[in-house]
């Protein structure tokens, strides 16, 4: 440890004691709020669909292992979709593929996947197939 670092440690200790890590600050700087140059680009960046699909998969996985209620899954899915600029997640194929991927990561059996897919898709055959496609895509890896 250098001489300077030796001095730094107790002072940092004092400061972290007083204030600690980064504190969440709701006030925004002018430029960040107006232009949001980076936050706004995620919705449709070239990897947008993939990023959305991954989020849906991770969300689905996190949900099924926490065993929440069915309506909270759909509500949470809506929040995930809105972060990616999507209000009508049912109209985006990536939603169902992502759900299938999440179920596969959670090690759902084929029968469990079929039941989940039927419930989340309202019985729509195309959507059930997309869930299956997502499930198979992870299983095959």
């Amino acid at each position: 440890m250098t001489h300077r670092a030796k001095h730094a440690v107790p002072v940092m200790l004092l400061l972290t004691t007083a204030i600690g890590c980064s504190f969440s600050d709701s006030s925004e700087s002018i430029s960040k709020s107006i232009s949001s140059p980076f936050e706004s680009s995620s919705a449709s960046s070239p990897g947008g669909t993939e990023a959305y699909q991954n989020d849906v998969a991770d969300y689905t996985y996190a949900y099924v292992i926490s065993a929440g209620q069915a309506d909270t899954f759909l509500k949470g899915l809506a929040s995930v979709a809105e972060r990616h600029g999507i209000t009508n997640w049912e109209a985006d194929d990536a939603t169902y593929v992502g759900i299938g991927q999440g179920l596969s990561k959670a090690k759902f059996t084929q029968t469990q996947v079929e039941v989940f897919a039927k419930n989340v898709s309202g019985g729509d055959a195309k959507k059930v197939q997309l869930v299956q496609q997502g499930y198979d895509s992870v299983k095959q890896k």
Binding site: C21, F23, I30, I34, D71, G85, I86
Partner: protein
Amino acid sequence: MRFTARLAARASAAVLLLSAAVQAAEQRSIEYLSVEANEGGSSGGHAALRFDDVVYHFQHHTPGLLRLHREEADGFLFTYRLLQNRGIAVSRIAVSDDTYTRLRDWFNRRYLTEGMQFDALDAVSGDRALVELLLRDSNGISTGAPAGGIALRGAGYFFADGAGEASGAESAPLVELRRRVQEFYGKDFLQQRSAETRIALTQLTPANSGSSFSRRYTDLMSGLLALTALQHALPLQPGSFHALANDAYLLRDEERSALWAFAARLADELVGLLHSPRPDWGYPLLVGMARLVALHESVRTGRLVFLDAFGPSAHVISPAAWHGRAAMMVDLLDEAHAELAAARARLTSGGTLREADFARFESASNRFNELYRGIGEQLDVRVQAGLLLPSRAARRSDLILPVRSVTELQQDLAAAQARERAIEQELHQRYAYNLITRNCVSEIFRGLNGALAEAGTGDAADATDGRLHAAVRAGLGGYIEPGAALTFIPFVSTRAVRETYNVTATQELLSYRSQRLETMYRRENPFVVFLRESNTLTSTVYGPNPRDSFFVFFTDAVPTRPLLGAVNVAAGVGAGAVGLAALPFDGGSTLVAGVKGVLFSLPELAFLNLRKGTFDYVERAYRPMPAVAFPAG
């Protein structure tokens, strides 16, 4: 001169990017980011973990909670390195593909799981608030609407606050949509669905509303309003959309075709939404119908018509706030224009236009228009971070209320309060902040260890110490105990990471001001630069930021730190004395700045620097290319 320098910077960035790409192809890596101290929200420094273009970091929230945040890497660097003017030590850690995926998945799932848990608290708090509202406005039986009404997201495009419906001619696109719905579901479908929804609202109880009474209630009310808007083909509310004469919004033929195709697909999807299993179909139906009307108007007139997408969290900045900062506003306008141009290009770039693409276009149009009008006409400018998604709410008072007696409501309230307390306690136990054992640094190490322990044993809780350490060593090259040996201090943790993990490259990213000074020292007389930029009075880089403490000299790169620190202490004392006199006039802001100035100057007497000054704006020309933020390898 500046152009040449920028060209050189870009070329250098391209080389670094290429280098990073080649390295990425060879080996996966994650980056440990240690952020320098500065005054503000993280005076002790901060830490984060970067996975390609995404950064995860833990922040301290009131009341004493530590929560995981996810940000785009460029956004994180923009905030901490540029606006907060902090240097960042980057340590690149080589990992296998499998380790990379496990770690990324672990942090992302933790982020999403946390979101679900805190959302459950929001839901039960909403339940309690709704029952309180119903109780307050009821006399015996809850038949009276809450006086202030309830805000319903998305309804503001067709309904004003209060009661009653908009008058005026029917909207042609919604007349057509209504015809299609009747053709598909039956002539009386909308009336029947409305009647069913009304009955469901009156019969709603906490017991039959799924996970949340308040959310089920607002979902049903939003659905009812969406059905009403469609039944009556309501026109858009004045002020809820923008139809501008500006030639910048003239649409080319191919853009009109793309928007027309998107509108046709949207109409199909809206018909489908009326058969949706999702409980919150009302909001997307309201927004979709409003967009449909705007899209038809765009195609009809050949000029872009778009919904107002600023939400309730938008801040309003008056012209007085940017008075004298014309360059900043022009820079922001240029940036908004570039964002709009990029989003607009996506309309006609081929392939199916996704809702997310359209949302980006809509968001960029809103941001550009807000700045353009604000600057041109000296109007208030609304600002809001992130993607703007249409959500205009109407606070309605013509509500269909659940029929609950006062006794039932009192029981509902007691149950909601108990549940709220229980969830709060659980979250506090799970996510409590602790300076040493659970802070922004220790939680990253705990996450890394937990994720890799799961990989080794299937469950982190089942891992013995030996197996846990072995699994972490296999993945990262070594094991760091969270909080041990002062590693909870960000700059100490950097050394631990570099000494313990498989670190293949390191880089010290200069803070914004240091980076600007470095360029100045290269191009100008160093002595002149030193004198001019050493203090807040003559600096050309730093401008007084009201959020900073009062100080005179920058001490982050000078050997005479104690001497200048003493001047800063004296200046802080002076500012405090002036602040005391000015207390009745400035609300204590000068006094606070002076006291903070003294506090942040004291470490300088012992050769230590914390305060570096912060910025509320950084011009685009001075923002480094994203690739520069990657370690050079």
